[in-house]
């Protein structure tokens, strides 16, 4: 892949679930080392876009390329290059965290020395050292999330697809993950990061894409989004609510209390 080519390129992508349109004519481009935030209300198509990029879902129309590889045709190569954390990571609960990471490392082809070192390092960084021998079924949601993040990072991925990765994480681990994304970005790793926490998106993403009903509503840096919404100087939450056409939140609350 030439250096000028984007790391992720999505062109007129459409995904249907039966008669329901999950993604409609979505096009976007993420460059090397960029951290792209995906924002949108529940059911806007963020997770569907992530799953399509990692090859878990087949596009109904259009195409997506990761590092110049077609996600549908070259899915094996794409999967080798990508690290993915789903919105609700269902891990093998019958394994211990160490066994799970060992399995992932073996499938990814890591040698014994390398996998031992990396697993140990990650366990220490995310405060799971000493608990790696416990079955995953005994873990809290946050601990499972940490294991999923470690599994996604084990093989030095070139692309990270993180679907609400900070869900359930304690503040220290969330900070570690955010810093890690920054560092990896400097090393040229591109990240697509979906979140509902707008402050996090603003803090760590180079650019933000707002999706609604499977359509891209707006795209740009947080400053560009403010300008598009005609709300310079406002918080990203106000920008998001205006762009997604959410009616006055105060009215909704009053209706609920009635």
């Amino acid at each position: 892949m030439a250096l000028t080519e984007p790391a992720v390129e999505v062109t007129h992508l459409r995904k249907m679930y039966g008669y329901n349109v999950a993604l409609n004519d979505v096009s976007l481009s993420v460059s090397l080392g960029e951290v792209r935030g995906l924002l949108g209300p529940n059911g806007s198509g963020k997770s569907t876009l992530m799953k399509t990029l990692v090859g878990l879902l087949k596009p109904s129309a259009g195409f997506a390329r990761v590092l110049g590889l077609d996600v549908d045709r070259d899915s094996m190569m794409v999967k080798r290059a990508v690290g993915y954390v789903p919105e609700t990571p269902r891990l093998y609960e019958f394994l211990t965290a160490a066994e799970y990471l060992d399995f992932i490392a073996d499938v990814r082809g890591l040698g014994f020395q390398e996998k031992s070192q990396r697993i140990k390092r990650f366990l220490g960084a995310l405060d799971l050292e000493g608990k790696e021998g416990d079955m995953i079924s005994s873990y809290s949601q946050g601990m499972k999330q940490k294991v999923a993040i470690m599994a996604a990072l084990l093989h030095h991925p070139k692309i990270l697809l993180l679907d609400e990765p900070l869900n359930g994480l304690d503040p220290k681990s969330a900070r570690v993950v955010k810093e890690l994304i920054h560092e990896l970005s400097r090393e040229g790793v591109s990240t697509i990061f979906s979140t509902h926490v707008l402050e996090i998106a603003e803090a760590i993403c180079d650019r933000i894409t707002i999706l609604q009903h499977g359509i891209i509503l707006a795209e740009g840096t947080s400053q560009e989004l403010r300008e598009k919404a005609g709300l310079p100087g406002s918080g990203l939450e106000d920008v998001f609510l205006k762009l997604t056409g959410t009616r006055d939140v105060q009215d909704i609350v009053e209706a609920l209390l009635r």
Partner: protein, 532 residues
């Protein structure tokens, strides 16, 4: 609430059926009428047999029904899971309400079985002038099945408590303990509720010399058999005892539900340093790091997941269970020198049936076992072929243990010659390959990824198609060899045996190859459209 429980609880009964109470009633009525006609036909048939002791048969049929229904419900639910995650547990429901609704739900779900028993025995009661005993039977059969369903509630609470202690323990001794425990439960239930044993038990009960009358689960049966003997006092006593048993178990079920409603945290918790594995010794056999990782994952899943353990036990225990009648019939056991080939062939067939069915069931459920964790495989650079081969290898490995155990047991018990034992093993391995490949082909086309207390892993349609095809394959492979060996024993050409074995092997390998090829496409499709 009953309806909700019935539709939420997973069993081999299709959900479409369990969620429609009216349909169960209609099926029950239809089965009652069909069984009634069957009873009329049986009675007419018995009449024409000279010197037949009809009354003894009536005792076995009438006495067997309550015994069967106490046992059947236990057997069906022997491996029932803890239901601590049932949504009803979070609702304001008292333990007694839960136990009442849950046991009534089980009772109603399996009521068509009761209708078969009662329909079949009605004409026999009429023609043998046993209507008063029949009325006792109707009452006791209902009490017996209610006792069985309440017993399940006791079992569920006890298993939930035991599971909470052992579930999170990963040590090898516990894994072995768990497998052995499930095998023992299966053998025990098979022993207790095997038709051959039931008739022997009833014979002992009727003879009056048995101490079995002190065993509570035989009380409903005794009430019926005493009624058949016109011993009203004894029958009445056992009716009262049966009701007391039902009442006692109900109380125990409510007590246990109250006690273990909210499960205590694990009482035993072994934890190690994890397991970062070095190069596997299997690498010397040409297996790659990736293949070893997949196989290791399958083994850990099979030995640590409660809902999967009962499946891996099947290939180990089925050969023995299906060959059961031979163990129990002394006449089939030749003494002294090696059995003649014909005997070996006939004895080997049930074992192969068990091995084949075990492989089939394990393989059919292997894709569905992935459940909601399927995304793990989908997001990794794994080809469909790799996954199919790993599942095939795992199924063959587990089933081969059952085959070898069955071959050793049958060789010792029936003094099989070395030739016969080797033949049994060779055909057995090919049967395993064929049935495992067929099973994966079916399981990947009809996977059931839904999870629950008793996940099915393969759809009902898939189970039916797979079982039919599995039996056809087994028949095509085993029958010609058995026939050729039997014919050879009666003076036929030995060449037929060789031809039959070669043909059987060719059929098995062809099915294995086709099954493997047919599995790739569906697995590819599953992996390319995964919902997380």
């Amino acid at each position: 609430m009953i309806s909700r429980l019935r539709s939420a609880r997973r069993s081999f009964v299709p959900r479409g059926l369990t969620s429609r109470p009216l349909l169960i009633a209609v099926i029950g009525v239809i089965l009652f009428v069909v069984s009634l006609l069957g009873g009329v036909a049986t009675e007419s048939f018995l009449k024409v047999i000279p010197n037949l002791d009809v009354q003894s048969l009536v005792v076995i049929i009438f006495g067997g029904i309550p015994l069967f229904f106490v046992g059947l419900l236990w057997e069906l639910n022997a491996s029932a899971e803890s239901e601590s995650a049932d949504s009803v547990n979070w609702l304001p429901i008292s333990p007694s309400e839960y136990v009442f609704a849950s046991s009534l739900s089980t009772e109603y779900t399996y009521s068509p079985g009761l209708m078969i028993g009662l329909g079949f025995s009605l004409p026999i009661a009429i023609f043998t002038n046993n209507l008063p005993a029949y009325s006792v039977l109707v009452f006791l059969a209902i009490i017996a099945s209610m006792t069985g369903s309440v017993g399940i509630e006791v079992l569920r609470s006890a298993l939930a408590r035991a599971s909470s202690s052992f579930n999170r323990v990963g040590g090898r001794p516990v894994i072995v303990l768990r497998i052995v425990a499930i095998m023992l439960i299966l053998v025990l239930t098979q022993l207790l509720f095997n038709g051959f044993i039931i008739s022997n038990v009833i014979g002992s009960l009727v003879s009056g010399a048995s101490s079995l009358s002190f065993v509570p689960i035989f009380w409903p049966t005794l009430a019926v058999t005493k009624a058949l003997e016109s011993d009203v006092v004894a029958s009445g006593l056992f009716v009262i005892l049966s009701l007391a048993l039902f009442g006692g178990l109900s109380g125990l079920a409510v007590f246990m539900k109250k006690r273990f409603w909210v499960l205590p945290s694990t009482s035993i918790h072994l934890s190690g340093k994890g397991a970062i594995t070095g190069p596997s010794r299997l690498g010397f056999l040409g297996m790659s790091q990736l293949s070893v990782a997949l196989l290791r994952r399958e083994l850990r899943s099979a030995t640590r997941r409660k809902e999967v353990i009962r499946l891996i036990v099947l290939p180990l225990i089925l050969p023995v269970m299906i060959g059961f009648p031979f163990f129990l019939t002394p006449a089939s056991r030749p003494s002294g020198a090696s059995s003649p080939p014909a005997v070996s062939a006939i004895l080997g067939a049930p074992f192969l049936l068990g091995v084949g069915l075990g492989a089939l069931v394990l393989a059919m459920t292997s894709m569905g076992q992935e459940g909601r964790t399927l995304w793990n495989l989908g997001a990794l650079p794994l080809s469909a072929g790799r996954i199919v081969r790993a599942k095939l290898l795992f199924t063959s490995l587990i089933t081969s243990i059952g085959l070898i155990a069955a071959a050793i047991v049958s060789s010792l018990l029936f003094s099989l010659s070395i030739y016969s034992s080797v033949l049994l093993l060779i055909i057995g391995f090919i049967v395993i390959l064929a049935e495992a490949s067929l099973g994966i082909a079916i399981g990947s086309r009809f996977p059931d990824f839904s999870e629950g207390p008793r996940p099915r892993f393969v759809t009902v349609t898939g189970s039916i198609i797979g079982t039919v095809l599995g039996f056809i394959t087994l028949g095509l492979m085993v029958a010609p060899v058995v026939v050729a060996i039997v014919l050879a024993s009666f003076g036929g050409s030995q060449a037929f045996v060789s031809v039959a074995i070669a043909a059987s092997g060719a059929v098995g390998l062809a099915v294995a190859f086709v099954g493997y090829r047919l599995s790739i496409g569906p697995v590819e499709k599953i992996l390319s459209d995964v919902s997380t």
